[in-house]
Amino acid sequence: MKLEVDNIQFYYEARKVLDEISFKADEGEFIGLIGPNGSGKTTLLRIIDGILKPIVGSVYIDCRRISELDPREIAREIAVVPQIADLSFDLKVFDIVMMGRYPYLDRISLEREVDEERVRFWMKVTNTLHLAERSIKEISGGERQRVFIARALAQEPKILLLDEPTSNLDICYKIEIMNLLRALVDELKLTIICAIHDLNLAARYSDKIILIKDGRIKSIGKPRDVLTKDNLSEVFKIDAKIEYDMDSKSLIIIPLKTINQKSNNELIFPTLKENILA
């Protein structure tokens, strides 16, 4: 399986949001997508999934242009776990995961036994089978995220796109989810492209990191090649200490100060201090 993103350009109204985005992904690759808010990460994920159409450029999966595929065909290759979950209605976990099978069903037919088997399988893989009859509103955040991942997996995709899958989770669940994702890549050779805020998690779990700034790829490569002091200072506007941790076998980024701060220890917000003492 090969994913190729070729020279994507995208405008939102008059504004250019993405420009000259090109990269490749193989199977069994964990790609971390990082960049400040508004840099275009979510938009890029939407373009790869085919939800948005680029002005220029194309996305190819196994040399087929996704713009020529219909939504169900795309859904069988690429699955998305979006950032925000709409919980307005009380759906059962099982039913939610079962919706991942829709790309394999036509309009009128009910789900078949094979669909139930696949769903059970993926729920076991994601350790959510015991939640099958529970309502999605009743379970914890971590469990909920696993359910959505199970739903995405039920589509039997080759590529899994995730948008900030751990942002709202407790740290225990953060790690749990990232471990699951990593396992999916290692054991099942899925390709995962994961937009993530937490630079340390990105560093630890990604094979490849794409750093996006103002809609353009600033840097792409292994974590230690992308997460450099210069990049951090230019893109994230922080001065950071970058270390290698033996136990987690990954880079650790410790932010020291913003680039505008005068010293590391200037912990007090200057304007606050001025105004209080004035």
Binding site: V80, D95, R107, D115, R120, R151, E156
Partner: protein, 353 residues
């Protein structure tokens, strides 16, 4: 299929699958509701301001089929066969229509306040009916008002779509806002009409409050196939509506053509609503509350929600109309609101003890 997984998992044959259990539950629900509908139709035939004994009703109906059992009077036969039966059937179809339209609207907007009238259809239909009652001559005889109302309803949705085209992107929020705008516009025009021609205000209000008076077999024959067809089409979109419950993005990512669905379903729901409302006036409550009630009872999966809401809506409206008949022809919408609200509160309390 992901390589390496085939053949490495265990199936769980032998245990009753969740799917099977669900299917059985659905079949049972629909069976009970269908039986309930038939019983309701039969019972309602015996209810009305003119007392006709059940024995006489049986005589009348069997006579119609071809047997001669027992005695009945001409007048009573006319009442049963030409007034009550078509009115009951009209109630069935209107109730079905409004419930399903409500289900579609709530699924589309993911908003519990959405009902069939949210896109301006009822104000459009009311305006059409009002114009017919006050100004227009009787071109089509007694069918002038229903036709005018139907055109009014379609005009409203037409206007909504055009407003959206003029004002930017087609989103679900835009639909809602445009719908509100059109509702207010038509209501304002209607108010002006009522104010200047206040001699007919009473009659216009009666139409708006809604009722199944003036039902005849022709109306039933016209409305039944339209509504059944439209409900069946809606049923085909059950999976899409289910997917939309997870959000537009997720729905798109599992293969739903969200753009098409979001443009088509409002028109479908408006057609159903327009058809129902032009024959019965804007009966309230059913389109808004029935979907909620049924969702609490059978769950949010539209594949069961649509048919069971349809059946329950029909049952409810027939009972409400039977009561309205006996209470001096009260407008049915009043009865539905009065009886439905407490039931809904009861359900609410039951879920959160």
């Amino acid at each position: 299929m992901i390589e390496g997984i085939q053949g490495t998992y265990e199936t769980e044959h032998g245990k009753t699958g969740l799917l099977e259990r669900r299917l059985l539950k659905w079949r049972a629900t629909l069976t009970y509701l269908t039986i309930g509908l038939f019983l309701t139709i039969i019972a309602a035939t015996a209810i009305g301001p003119v007392y006709i004994s059940p024995g006489e009703i049986i005589s009348i109906i069997s006579y119609r089929i071809g047997f001669r059992i027992g005695e009945f009077s001409e007048t009573h036969m006319r009442i049963i066969l030409q007034l009550r039966l078509p009115r009951i059937l009209l109630g069935v179809f209107v109730g079905m229509a409004l419930s399903v339209a409500g289900v579609i609207m709530q699924g589309l907007f993911r908003n519990p306040l959405a009902g069939p009238y949210v896109l301006g259809v009822s104000s459009g239909a009311s305006l059409g009916a009002a114009l017919s009652i006050t100004l227009l001559p009787s071109i089509m005889g007694i069918y002038t008002t229903p036709i005018a109302a139907f055109i009014g309803g379609l005009t409203a949705i037409f206007l909504v779509y055009n407003i959206i085209k003029l004002c930017g992107r087609f989103t679900v929020e835009a639909l809602l806002l445009a719908g509100i705008a059109v509702t207010y516009l038509f209501s304002a025009i209607l108010s002006i009409l009522i104010w200047t021609l206040n001699r007919d205000a009473h009659n216009i209000l009666l139409w708006i409050m809604g009722g199944l008076w003036g039902a005849d077999w022709l109306k039933v024959e016209i409305i039944a196939p339209i509504i059944i067809t439209l409900i069946l089409i809606s049923y085909i979109f059950s999976k899409d509506l289910n997917a939309l419950l997870l959000g537009e993005e997720t729905a798109q990512s599992i293969g739903v053509d969200v753009k098409f669905v979001e443009r088509f379903l409002p028109i479908l729901a408006s057609l159903i609503t327009s058809a129902a409302v032009s024959f019965s006036g804007s009966i309230g409550f059913i389109g808004l509350m029935m979907p909620h009630i049924m969702r609490m009872l059978v769950g949010p999966d539209h594949r069961i929600l649509i048919p069971s809401s349809a059946l329950a809506g029909g049952i409810f409206l027939v009972w409400a109309d039977a009561a309205a008949r006996c209470l001096m022809e009260l407008p049915v919408g009043v009865v539905t609101a009065l009886t439905g609200t407490p039931f809904f509160i009861y359900l609410l309390r039951r879920r959160r003890p």
